[in-house]
Symmetry: D2
């Protein structure tokens, strides 16, 4: 239950305000060169305080690799990753000890476990994804040494502000998906509108959700299993582990509900002696298996729960009360979440790669 | 890779045109009374030919329990379920032997495995879900003997025709979610419009998608794990194993992207000495764990791929060609898919129930 | 709990007196030629009634492959194997319904599950290994198409009668491990003594145990994992699933307890530009990983429990009583068990082969 | 591959001469009081330098619990255990960089992984069991809060010196299995002979093996699964993960090979309204499931490989050479291994306990 992946497995540990957060990578082959500075860079991108509307909890997030690496190469043994929690201010949470914050995991954790660490979300904190992002970069380095695939991730919507037609990403592809703003939005003009919206909502002590586009380019055909471990099942399982994710669409997604089969079907043709599809409504996956075309999906996030306004709630003595959350919280976590979406995508791809190994001639 | 579930596991086997399709249930306790006629009833609901717009492949779909049951009760040993393929008309597929049907799994299966069973989708056929539906009913019988939870599933959209506000199901709850039409649509008036749409599309030799609402009532608090096996992750993994599913939303889902935190947050209060939420935008799940409120989610299906029109495609000799699919296929599979959505939901719930056992006092 | 193997998995189902016994093979690649007649032959060798001192339950044991094979080659999808129970004489067991036979699983099954199938051992019957033997032959066929390894299995002891020095098998290797007797004993002269012993014990209505030697020749170096899935751990887990197995030794085994390190250590040298060991006390495994030398181990079986003598026992009403087991039972099951030891060895090897794939350059 | 256990899982990480060794415990319920000082005590018992004939590598072995514990109780989240490697003297190993030590994992690790950490056994070092022993004590504390079972472990043989009849432990039970010597031998007089033997062998620069008895008292009936996860299979898998273990016997073990069924069978009778067995040759397990009687088994260890004598060997350039191992090594590791045998037994029991939960009424 603390692991994800079938063959390339990640086992996570740590709570938000414990000593460390970390994870173990299992199933990784020996002899792969790993660049720690690139891992650190990936983790830095995830960090809070990257832009004005993120939490003010400052963590250095130094990635430590405790095992599995020797002289710059993997040993084939488990890779243990650890990031220390340094800036944990538990006192912020003392008054929340017996109160259940609305939409947080406080109440459900209490119902499930009885005993809980009330400091800052404990195990349910998004902080546990920091070492996952590190693991994701290890998966990326491995895959990119073998195959030239690339995961592209950007924000397409924050609150009500969205890019024009999220399903058609070709306009941004022409510009190499270049991002020039702190919000990780692919469209600079839209990003400015998002900033205005964020400023307004910040003043209200409120929060906003958003949506992220993820595109996998150059994914080889044959990844994903025909029934339970379909490509989209593996991705979906991973994406819905991310806090506040509430929706997911693959390819034409929700749009396809109202399309006819004749509009939806991606006819095949031959270009340069390669089988390709003329359109790509199915998002590069057919029957749960990649077909060599671009894979793309959309991950929707609800607004985060830690608003600054007074809210009605209850405590563990079954009394009604009110709460106003202090602490250091994001207005919108979506721009930071691109790192997490990217990491889980690379981790999923690595797992599918290993699952498919017996079939590779 | 052929199994789903962590503790309550389903291992599937069989191809569309092989001798049988079946599955094995593992991790099921002894002494549970199982009514085979109820299982059969569940499988019958899934069958083709339930309504006019479904495939004309007639299968009796007699459920055989080969092991794990003795004198009407489970033995605690694996329960093997088998359904024979009787009406498999392989000759329908002979001419498709070397051609890749657009949007089918033909091409990706060939890329992954090399050797493939070209008869009717093989392993990728929706037919493999028949024994899964049987297994789902066993999970249902087990859960309903222990806890009073209930899974309600209905069609909310076919093609462009949809019920008014899918997120607010209270209007239908007042009528006990009663279904009076073959399309399994919760709104009778809308169902009539859907039928008109289906008739029109059938004439065109085309197909339609749709969306299904799933509601879990009386789900106990505490199901789902805090990180990787979140309630929504387990459901998502299962739902995306269903052919043609392209989108999934939990609770306020895509609507929540544009909501503010103050609108989204479900404040707690006390009713009858019970902690409940005033609203339920989070769909009964917080931090990946059920909170005792209704759980609800929406599963979106693209139109099925087997249209009757001529399509451009290619064969395995890398030649462009055209294809017109004969065979016996649905115009819209969504009304039948309610059985599958329901089955996977019960299976997921059973798995979460067992995963949570060590924490139950 | 009903599966064995990490990547190449076997999921078993069926009871002794149910409709069928069977298993599902998962994780097997596509395009492998499988000869069904060879599988049948392997299962036939396991069957009762191969020699005079085995059970008189006559089962045809026709192996049916229900899925995963198409035109003689694997599809990469799960391979379902089924063997029908035809000669199940449940009436033999009616009087044992409430009585716990000494050393059988009757009592422990009742304690664990409450509800039990009292007919002939149910799930605990050795009969469930019939489809495992079939699966083992599929593993054998696969491995022998890839690498030239070979598993050699023979009886080295029955009751008090044993071959001279079981640890030194070179004398029998010189004769190609040729077996010329029904007892699967590698030494013909000893086999004759064993037959005398068996005859004597049969007259007494008693039973005998024995020991089996298993040798793996041409096993490539690198199989087995350094910690938990050591080569010997995987083999040990499998061997101790076999009913009546009570001991296991690898290489010099129990003899090594009294050896000094200087006697035990297998020094390396170079022969024909290959690294080999001068001796092989470690049995071809070092640090849990195969070293390319012969692997060998010894599996010890206690006498089977179904003796024909009157025994003291109890019933499920907590009353003391006596029992005399009728039914059809072996005097000694060890000669038949060679098939099972061989099958589990091939299955274990296949699993280790797939686990090691990521490391193969 | 880096985990052991089905539900109560241990995931290990770390190399002998890396920064740390550690493990993650998954599947542990919340609210269990854990005493860290007891864990530390268990780990101290395992440490080197407990007696004169053990390695002189001095490690403090301070157990750090990094997650999963809060205010002295478990959180239901993964428990991360870490022990720092402080006294790693890598220079001892510099000259062994390219040489394969006989019977060590050097050669097989090189064959499997190519790239290897040549310092002190890397992943194959017995040092990785230190955190496992800590995890085992957590399992012990949990089980002993629930059920009164007890694991008793002692040395019964070192080299040629052994206690009189290892199968009959009642003589020592009468003395409460009291141990009064550094060798963890249950018989004080025999321990003195063992010391003489060890002294002699130490002078020769040689090493000795031995055997450990493990007894589980008050194990509830019903643990273990009927087929693949038999009680003995789970124990066997665990025991053979311990370096240098070469043999394992349950109950009458190898002695039972030469017993008749009528001698072997443990007849049932009623004592104090409880079903018990008159004898216990089957070692408390029938059909893979515990029967409530004492469980006992014997774990045999070959002598350790690091002898001080000159040995013939080869290097990675395929040249023959000689080696004389310096470093700090045990003469006999068996007295220290009692901690490891005990830990794996508690871990196995905890896993079986959780596997059996669905069947507990």
């Amino acid at each position: 239950m603390d692991s994800i992946g079938n063959i390339f497995k990640i086992t996570s540990f740590g709570e938000s305000h414990g000593a460390v957060v970390g994870c173990i990578i299992s199933g990784f082959p020996a002899g792969v060169s790993i660049h720690i500075e690139e891992i650190q860079e990936a983790v830095n991108k995830r960090k809070t305080n990257q832009y004005e509307y993120s939490s003010s909890r400052h963590e250095e997030d130094i990635v430590e690799i405790l095992s599995g690496l020797f002289e710059g190469k993997t040993l084939g043994t488990p890779i243990a990753i650890q990031i220390k929690n340094k800036n944990a201010q538990a006192q912020d949470y003392e008054e929340l000890k017996n109160i259940y914050r609305p939409n947080h995991a406080d109440y459900t954790t209490a119902m499930k476990y009885g005993h809980r660490d009330y400091r800052g979300g404990g195990r349910s904190s998004i902080r546990v994804t920091a070492p996952i992002v590190a693991a994701g970069d290890i998966a990326r380095q491995f895959l990119q040494q073998l195959i030239s695939l690339q995961v592209i991730v950007y924000v397409n919507q924050i609150g009500n502000v969205q890019i024009e037609n999220k399903y058609d990403y070709t306009i941004f592809e022409k510009k190499n998906f270049e991002i020039k703003n702190n919000l990780n939005c692919v469209d600079d003009a839209i990003a400015e509108k998002m900033l205005l919206e964020l400023e307004k909502v910040k003043q209200q002590g409120d929060t906003l959700g958003g949506e992220i586009t993820c595109i996998i380019k150059n994914c080889p055909a044959g990844l994903g299993e025909p029934l339970f471990d379909k490509f989209q099942s593996i991705i979906a399982k991973a994406m819905f582990t991310i806090n506040t994710v509430k929706s997911l669409e693959f390819g034409a997604g929700r749009k396809s509900i109202a399309m006819k089969g004749s509009e939806m079907n991606d006819e095949f043709n031959i270009i340069n002696k390669q089988i390709v599809t003329k359109t790509n409504h199915s998002g590069g996956i057919q029957g749960g298996i990649s077909n060599g075309q671009d894979i793309y999906f959309f991950v929707g996030f609800k607004p985060i729960s830690s608003i600054q306004q007074v809210q009605q709630t209850v405590n563990d003595k079954l009394q009604e009360t009110t709460i106003q959350i202090a602490g250091r919280h994001d207005v919108c976590a979506v721009p930071r979440a691109v790192s997490i979406v990217s990491a889980y995508t690379y981790l999923s791809l690595a797992d599918m790669y290993f699952m498919n190994l017996p079939n590779v001639k």
